[in-house]
């Protein structure tokens, strides 16, 4: 299977079509556009390129930028680093307020050669492969199967602390399952998807077609 990274904004739009929300994002062409987008709120800058699929590892992410000065110096650093990754785009995103009880999860999809599309949920962030606490189902899934996925996780009660959160995650899972079923997608990652303030924000997404 050949994998091509889908344009970030297109992927974001596709997900929003399935009612999966991700943080406000825009491509910027210069520092002023980034400063405008920030409007005094903390932002993140990321370099997107086919040549480096792991942005954090390649140092292509600058977090928590508020002042004009911070934004400018981060922008300059990224431009310098990404010379080797041409062609690339720079994405600006609003930053999710950091709180100690924020939980990072991963929701994803993959197309299996034998069984077709699958949907996954797990404890997310940078330690997904360390803890390997995840649940998997063949798409499409029903509500009961989505609930079963959460219950199967060791971290299930940490991820979905109450009925509302459980309902919310079940909906994301069913929507991603629908998306995977209706589109020809090889791999999909929403990681991390941050659970906070009774809602969620997918802060990074990756769709491979």
């Amino acid at each position: 299977m050949e994998n091509k990274l889908m344009d970030y904004m297109k992927a974001k739009e596709l997900l929003s079509h399935y009612n999966v929300k991700s943080v406000d994002s825009t491509y910027i062409n210069n520092v002023d556009e980034a400063i405008n987008f920030s409007n005094g709120n903390p932002i993140v800058l990321k370099v997107l390129t086919q040549k480096a699929l792991h942005k954090t590892k390649s140092g292509l992410v600058e977090l928590n930028l508020i002042s004009d000065k911070e934004i400018k110096s981060a922008y300059d650093r990224l431009i310098k680093k990404s010379m080797q990754y041409k062609p690339y785009k720079i994405l600006a995103q609003h930053m999710v307020d950091y709180k100690s009880d924020n939980i990072e999860i991963i929701i994803g999809g993959r197309k299996d050669l034998q069984f077709g599309p699958l949907v996954l949920i797990g404890l997310g962030g940078i330690y997904v492969e360390t803890f390997r606490d995840f649940a998997l189902r063949i798409c499409p899934i029903n509500k009961q199967e989505a609930l079963g996925m959460i219950d199967e996780l060791k971290s299930g009660s940490v991820i979905a602390k109450n009925k509302h959160e459980k309902e919310m995650i079940v909906n994301i899972l069913m929507n991603v399952s629908k998306l995977m079923t209706e589109h020809n997608i090889n791999e999909l990652d929403l990681n991390p998807l941050i659970l906070h303030d009774n809602t969620y924000s997918a802060v990074d997404l990756r769709v491979l077609i």
Partner: protein
């Protein structure tokens, strides 16, 4: 589906069988197959076929080619070198043979894909269902059909029963068959399907799902050919009867570089596990688990809850059994006040009336019986695990007979744990042949109860 369902009937219940490659030479596979048919007392017509123009093989009139046989042939078993199989299959087509089992190896498993495809195409042209190649074929103790080329003295033959076993691998197939023969439960159908040129996992599942003699379906698979169809079929069949699958090749996950976190976590084996969960398939992780799960599904009613009472004539084993329950997400129930009062009346003062109920080493059949009388009618007890240690002074054949009595009349599941040597083994055989599942360890028993509960829940929640 119906079409293929019928196709198996010609293999499983043939009125006439041609054995192509039959031989007077005992070293040949075809000799063993014919000999096994004769030994089993197969009642249909046998036609040995050998190109060497023998007059008779094993005292049965032989034919040079299948086309020389002028009567109907329900099944042709082909055991000739791979390179002449295409020709033989073509002759079977011309003779209007109704089904074919190709035992011969030397096809896709050694890279001869083209030869295999050629055989498949010829069979398809005549619309004949084919099992194999590179397989052991089928066994059905009811119809006395046995195409296995394993000399009778080397493998014990299972008795007639309700467990059907299908295996991609002939090696796993024959060793499990041999092991099943030593168990209390019997066999309905055995199907070894090898390279699955035509009939594959989905066809077998549909067939066994509809087979009235099959109560439990056991599969050994490495991969399935038609993933989605297998899943859909399994979902349907699971509602009727349990499917136990042992999956070989569990450790291939992450063999190819993944671009996303999802792909690196969710490899091909994980996909199979998801399929099993969603279609109610019970996964066995070892040959031992195949047997342990088969016997509880074959003999016991559904297990609706997870509250398991433990009755024991040995304290330590009761403690281990309690751990085993909780390790498998099962629990000890609370005894009701009325149960406690009843038990206090029938147990000697040395017995502390609580669960696990340790009835002490001098417990005899009467004490087992008194405890079971109380427990079997308790609403908050979903199943009973009886630990009967036959090494103790009180336990003898009367205890085994008592457990058979309660186990066969009770409405809820009952399993027995009896670890031990030859004296224990004799009692285990007694109980198992009466349909009481006996386990050698509390861990095995708890795990079997857990899968029985899991399967019951799958059916209830669907």
């Amino acid at each position: 589906m119906d079409n293929k369902y019928k196709n198996f009937n010609y293999m499983m219940n043939p009125k006439s069988v041609a054995i192509i490659g039959a031989s007077n030479n005992p070293d040949k596979v075809g000799h063993v197959i014919l000999q096994n048919y004769i030994d089993a007392g197969y009642a249909g017509k046998l036609y040995p076929v050998n190109i060497k123009d023998e007059v008779s093989i094993l005292n049965i009139k032989a034919y040079k080619s299948v086309v020389d046989i002028k009567n109907n042939i329900d099944l042709a078993v082909i055991a000739v070198p791979a390179e002449i199989v295409p020709n033989v299959v073509d002759e079977c087509g011309k003779s209007k043979v109704k089904s074919i089992i190709i035992v011969s190896g030397g096809f896709a498993e050694i890279g001869a894909v083209e030869l295999q495809d050629n055989v498949g195409a010829i069979a398809k042209k005549y619309n004949i269902p084919v099992l194999g190649p590179n397989c052991l074929g089928v066994m059905d103790p009811r119809t006395r059909v046995d195409t296995l080329f394993l000399p009778a003295f080397k493998i014990d033959k299972p008795k007639i029963g309700g467990v059907s076993f299908a295996s991609q691998s002939g090696a796993v197939g024959s060793s499990v068959l041999d092991m099943i023969s030593g168990e209390g439960f019997g066999l309905s159908k055995f199907i070894s399907y090898g390279n699955a040129i035509d009939l594959d996992e989905v066809d077998i599942l549909n067939y066994l799902g509809n087979d009235k003699d099959t109560k439990v379906i056991v599969f050994y698979i490495e991969g399935v050919k038609r993933g989605r169809a297998f899943m859909e079929s399994a979902k349907r069949v699971s509602m009727k009867k349990p499917i136990v699958v042992a999956k070989g090749g569990r450790t291939n996950a992450g063999s190819k570089a993944a671009h996303s976190h999802t792909a690196s976590l969710a490899g091909s084996y994980e996909a199979y596990k998801a399929v099993f969960k969603q279609s109610g398939i019970i996964q066995a992780n070892s040959l031992g688990e195949i047997l342990n799960f088969s016997k509880i599904f074959d003999t016991q009613p559904p297990l609706y809850g997870n509250k398991i009472a433990i009755i024991t004539n040995g304290g330590g084993t009761g403690v281990m059994a309690t751990d085993a329950l909780y390790d498998n997400k099962l629990e000890l129930p609370e005894l009701s006040d009325s149960a406690i009062n009843k038990l206090k009346k029938v147990m000697p003062p040395i017995v502390n009336v609580r669960l696990p109920l340790d009835m002490a080493g001098d417990a005899d059949d009467k004490r087992f019986s008194a405890a079971l009388d109380v427990m079997m009618n308790e609403d908050n007890i979903d199943a009973i695990m009886v630990i009967a240690l036959f090494q103790t002074p009180g336990a003898d054949s009367r205890v085994a007979a008592t457990l058979i009595h309660y186990g066969t009349m009770m409405k809820k599941p009952l399993v027995v744990v009896s670890p031990g040597g030859s004296y224990t083994q004799a009692h285990k055989n007694m109980m198992e042949s009466s349909g009481i599942p006996v386990y050698s360890s509390p861990e095995d028993a708890a795990r079997a109860l857990a899968v029985l509960h899991k399967y019951t829940e799958f059916k209830v929640n669907k």
